[in-house]
Symmetry: C2
Subunit: 210 residues, 2 copies
DNA sequence: CGACTTTTTCGTGTTACGGTAAAGAACTGG
DNA sequence: CCAGTTCTTTACCGTAACACGAAAAAGTCG
């Protein structure tokens, strides 16, 4: 008859990582929700983006759980802000979370679905989309490179930052790879559309004959 | 001056693609929910997985919208099944969806968050996790290769299948790349743990003074 | 008969995520 | 001073995603 509201042990399987991503972000330094919301410190935000409402909501939840503590900092010229710091429980929770096996995420990229259904869709918007994405990923690649150069000018990191450098490397690699497959897709698209024109799309209307 | 926002009018219709992924899957051939749930035809399911309840719920929704039509097939020896076919509205909807710009997804891989917070977590479980993931992605790579060999033995596809071949190529590349960065991470992890031991973690207990 | 497979469906809860909005403070500028 | 902007936080709402737990209907196998 006792109802478990916050079932700490119930979260055995859930992989929720928005909260944990925030915790991870706060391991580096205390931050405000506003700051977190802007960029996630130009780091975790790269592979885990969330808008400010999500951040704030998650911050309240984490505070309720005692994983972080907010200290109000009175500012002049600006509204007071809440700087959140990891508590020792928060660190323990992060550690505990990190010790559980992760499950591989799906790619879930709309573009792949579109490519899969290539023969049923219009290729021009797809091409435009691919080009936009190519630019996007190239852009990100450039940003990562700049951050890498600025934060780790000699390519090495202190032991405490080794993971951050590694994550950055992986992010860099990821952007490069996605940009590459965008290029490949554009390439194929060109060779396809030169060989066969936009297909007549009449066949889809045939089955109306019930 | 007001800022120019990228104002494509998002009419509340979701960017979500589970439904669209199913539509895309059904472009190839009619399938039952059971079949879809099992593997998504060993194709789209690679980058978009969902359990059978999700599939069935989405199928009902698509049927309600008139995007697919279910035909009951009487079987002997097994319960009757509902084979779903794309309607012309479904094709049109897919086409329409595919013509909208997509937004790049975040990576959202727990492993990256853990790497980012590397100095705050235990490395042994992380290492085990990385090894499991490495194996997983290698396995997937092998499966993709086998499918590729079986479905496109000469490396080329009919125009109607060009997109599927391309998507498969991308999936293949993705698995290879993720496996590679798992290897890199494991490598770094080894060199780190030989240099510095597991850190003493006492500093996190200091702030208990409240 | 019971156990199992195939196929479909329902219910319930939690999280995620996006939009719209607002509220309070202090500075900026006409 | 009023209007607007930046900074900072918060609330409400809706839908999608996802996980967990069941179960029903029909037929096979032991």
């Amino acid at each position: 008859m006792h109802k478990v509201k916050y079932a700490h042990m119930n979260r055995g399987v859930c992989e929720v990582a928005l909260g944990d991503a925030i915790l991870a972000c706060l391991t580096e330094r205390p931050m405000t929700g506003y700051e977190l919301a802007k960029t996630f410190d130009a780091s975790i935000g790269f592979f885990w983006k969330a808008d400010h409402q999500q951040i704030y909501r998650e911050l309240s939840r984490l505070r309720d759980r005692g994983h972080i503590r907010g200290r109000e900092v009175v500012q002049s010229g600006k509204p007071n802000k809440l700087v959140y710091t990891l508590t020792s429980e928060g660190r323990a929770a992060l550690k505990h979370w990190a010790a559980r096996p992760s499950s591989p995420p799906s790619i879930k990229d709309d573009l792949l679905v579109r490519l899969y259904a290539l023969d049923c869709i219009d290729i021009e918007p797809l091409r435009a989309d691919l080009m936009a994405r190519l630019e996007h990923h190239r852009d990100r690649f450039g940003r990562y490179e700049r951050i890498l150069k600025k934060r780790f000018p000699d390519g090495t990191a202190a032991p405490a930052d080794a993971g951050k450098l590694l994550a950055l490397h992986i992010g860099l690699r990821h952007e490069r790879v996605v940009a590459e497959w965008c290029e490949e897709a554009l390439d194929r698209l060109s060779s396809i559309s030169t060989r066969t024109n936009v297909q007549p799309l009449e066949d889809s209307q045939r089955e109306n004959k019930g």
